[in-house]
């Protein structure tokens, strides 16, 4: 099976190539078969690999990619437990989402283009997680970014979608540039980009807290932050919802945005050498999860709420990474992929059945009209809120408890995480109650077909039971201390989501409390607007980066450097004009000048003659 590792990314890639080249000749049925089937086949390959896996990392080198001087990077794969988890999520969830798309996108004029991009994305994402060196990882990293750009801007005839796609690409590119610099720094230090060799060399050469290690990991973190939409580079994700909903489910919830988490986990041996960076990871995660949770509370667009919630959940993963709960983070990554994909697909079904309605204020009472969707959404929201026994509960609880155990700022991190959990439950069930209960505002005109319902059901199962799955990452990460925090800590962690659920019920369904007075007070309004605008980070960046850049372009548009050459030209012109004016045509003037010349000349002769 080891020899067939290459097949896993190659299958979707081949399908994408076929779809691009043959888009004119393939009918929609063939396109769907090819697009869905290739990912399914890749998923089967992953399944076989997993089943036959002995516990030792698998490696395969296809060919030497770049070899210059010290640098030697091959197109080679390295598959261990962590990779297997990621591969399973990508191909498994990916397959379900492809299946869902086959119905969701039916009738679109660019059906083939859609599946080509989606397959390309899967191939790039698989390359990212399977890469055995950072250069190949970067290849996949940029590849998924490009596919994300293409898919967010899939309906590019609307200029706003194009703008969202560009924003997504450019903002992540900022992180990518930082990551590239991190790669350069690591290469300068160790002369290799091979992840395993790098980890070994770093452990041998660097003591804990080495400044270079801190710098290098901070730069890598920059890349991770960009890709995973964490502070301060999170602004692109909510806008990226402009893409088709399955795309949001696959790329902007389940897989690509968690690439940052994967990167940190993959290079955890470097991060362990740089405690300040790890703390930064935790703090970034905490702030992001709180900021995003508050923002999610104040949104109206169903997809934006989910987007902010994704940011928030990835914040949990970062928090987990930051406090050393590696496997818990990866676990949360997996369960998050299940329930967030489920939520997005369910939301997509709602949108699909309601004529592309996005605003939750125009929804309501869908519980009885779209029962499958309602059930899916409910399960997804429960898992997202980490209600006990759902998959989200297991993973999030691990992270929250690990945060408490963290030395120093642990309790603060824990408190923040618990607050976040409360908010998560609040906004999740706000969504459920507003969309599915109450008065019906818009009526659905169709029901999700089998291709949409099947993935929903499968994901429901995983969202509920995913917590019981074990992930084979014990050999990858250092042993984590099995802390046993005080009982009250456990109790609070379990109880807080229920509290949030209760508050949501009271506010949005039971109408026990009417919070509108609070919201409409001037202070409440101010907060509301502040949070609705995502803490005005977008506006800040607009003023800080975009406007100055635009001003700069306007200033430079006339090409100031060319003025320099213009000055040379003007000088020549001036000389020409001056000299041509001396050609006045006046004979007497010529004679006078000539006389003066003769006088000077004779003077010179006289001096030269020694007079």
């Amino acid at each position: 099976m080891t020899d067939l590792l290459w097949l896993i990314p190659a299958l979707p890639l081949a399908s994408a190539t076929l779809l691009i080249l043959g888009s004119q000749w393939l009918g929609p049925r063939w396109v769907a078969t090819l697009g869905v089937g290739s990912v399914g086949a890749a998923g089967l390959c992953v399944l076989f690999t997993t089943l036959q896996w002995q516990g030792a990392p698998l490696q395969q080198t296809l060919w030497t990619w770049i070899q210059v001087g010290e640098l030697s990077a091959g197109v080679s794969f390295y598959v261990d437990g962590l990779t297997l988890v990621m591969m399973s999520v990508i191909t498994g969830v990916g397959f379900l989402i492809h299946l869902y798309s086959a119905e969701f996108m039916a009738g679109d004029t660019s059906y083939a283009r859609y599946f080509a991009y989606l397959n390309l994305f899967v191939a790039a994402m698989l390359t990212l997680v399977m890469a055995d060196n950072l250069l190949l990882l970067f290849f996949g990293w940029e590849g998924v970014g490009a596919c994300s750009y293409l898919l967010v801007g899939f309906w590019h005839f609307d200029a706003a979608n194009g703008a969202a796609a560009r924003k997504a690409f450019v903002v992540t590119r900022v992180g990518d540039a930082a990551m590239a610099l991190g790669l350069f720094l690591l290469f300068r230090e160790f002369g290799t980009l091979d992840i395993q060799a790098l980890s070994a060399a770093a452990n041998a050469r660097w003591e804990v807290g080495n400044p270079t290690a801190v710098l290098a990991t901070a730069l890598l973190l920059g890349g991770a932050v960009g890709k995973s939409a964490q502070l301060p580079l999170h602004t692109w994700l909510p806008d990226a919802m402009a893409g088709p909903t399955p795309v949001s489910a696959l790329i902007h919830a389940a897989t690509m945005v968690t690439a940052g988490v994967y990167l940190v986990a993959r290079t955890h041996e470097l991060f362990l050498l740089a405690p300040p960076t790890l703390t930064a990871v935790a703090v970034i995660g905490l702030f992001t999860l709180l900021l995003a949770a508050f923002t999610a509370l104040c949104q109206h667009d169903i997809k934006r709420i989910l987007a902010w919630s994704t940011i928030s959940q990835i914040g949990y993963m970062f928090l987990g990474l930051g406090v050393g709960a590696w496997s818990a983070s990866i676990f949360h990554l997996m369960t998050h992929a299940f329930f967030k994909a489920l939520l997005f697909l369910a939301a997509g079904a709602v949108i699909h059945c309601l004529h592309h309605e996005h605003d939750i204020r125009n929804m309501g009472g869908l519980r009885s009209r779209l029962p499958v969707v309602f059930l899916s959404f409910l399960i997804g929201a429960a898992a997202l809120s980490a209600l006990p026994l759902t998959s989200g509960f297991f993973s999030k609880d691990l992270i929250v408890l690990a945060a408490f155990e963290a030395p120093g700022i642990g309790p603060w991190l824990w408190a923040g995480a618990v607050l976040g959990a409360f908010l998560t439950a609040l906004y999740s069930f706000r969504l459920v109650f507003v969309v599915f209960f109450g008065r019906a505002n818009t009526l659905p005109d169709r029901q999700p077909g089998p291709a949409m319902a099947t993935p929903l059901s499968v994901l429901c199962v995983f969202s509920l039971a995913g917590g019981w799955l074990g992930i084979p990452v014990a050999n990858v990460f250092p042993a984590e201390g099995e802390g046993h925090p005080a009982l009250w800590v456990e109790a609070v962690s379990i109880g807080i989501p229920l509290l949030g659920l209760a508050l949501a019920y009271a506010l949005f369904l039971g109408r026990r409390w009417d919070a509108s007075g609070l919201v409409e007070s001037p202070l409440g309004q101010a907060f509301y607007r502040f949070w609705h605008a995502g803490w005005r980070v977008d506006g800040l960046y607009d003023r800080l980066w975009v406007k100055p850049f635009l001003v700069l372009t306007v200033l430079l548009k006339s090409e100031p450097v060319d003025r320099l050459y213009g000055a040379v030209v003007a000088l020549c012109q001036l000389c020409y004009e001056g000299l041509s004016r001396s050609q006045s045509g006046r004979l007497r003037q010529y004679a006078t000048v000539m006389a003066a010349g003769v006088i000077v000349l004779l003077g010179v002769v006289w001096r030269a003659a020694g007079g």
Partner: protein, 172 residues
């Protein structure tokens, strides 16, 4: 005696030249100019160049000046021309040329200052001149003939369109 004659002739030459160039009436100026040329011819004779003196009288004072006379007659300047000339010859316009000419003269005189020597006063015969002219200087003669030919053609061309106007034929 001869020396005195030289100085007299020189004085006449200078004076008549100065008069010629400051006249407003072109005909008067021409007469003064001829006088100047004649006195230079006298000087040629004195310093031993009789052939040059003859040529000076025959060609310069004779032929060339007659050309001037013809042109002045054709232009028919009259009284109006004199008034205009007087207008143009304001004292102020003499200042700069005067300074320049004086400076040049000063330079020339200073440069000539170191020279000492005399003219022999022995005549160089026309025969000698002729032999030299068609001996070592034959190329110069050819050049001169070319120049005269060019002058002829040029004058004809320039003058022809002048004549053509009178016949009512448009040129150019």
């Amino acid at each position: 005696m001869i020396l005195a004659l030289f100085y007299v002739a020189a004085a006449i030459a200078l004076l008549s030249t100065a008069m010629a160039l400051s006249r407003t009436n072109a005909t008067h100026a021409l007469i003064y100019l001829i006088m100047s040329l004649l006195s230079v011819a006298v000087i040629f004779f004195i310093i031993g160049a009789p052939f040059a003196a003859a040529l000076e009288i025959v060609i310069y004072a004779g032929a060339i000046m007659v050309l001037f006379v013809f042109v002045i007659m054709m232009l028919n300047l009259g009284e109006a021309g004199q008034i205009r000339e007087r207008e143009w010859l304001k004292p102020r316009s003499w200042i700069l040329p005067g300074i320049f000419a004086a400076a040049l003269l000063a330079e020339l005189l200073v440069l000539e200052n170191g020279l000492s020597g005399t003219t022999t006063g022995v005549a160089v015969e026309p025969k000698t001149v002729g032999l030299t002219l068609f001996g070592p200087y034959v190329l110069a003669v050819e050049l001169a003939s070319m120049l005269l030919l060019a002058g002829l053609v040029g004058a004809y061309h320039v003058g022809r369109s002048f004549l053509a106007r009178d016949r009512g034929v448009k040129h150019q």
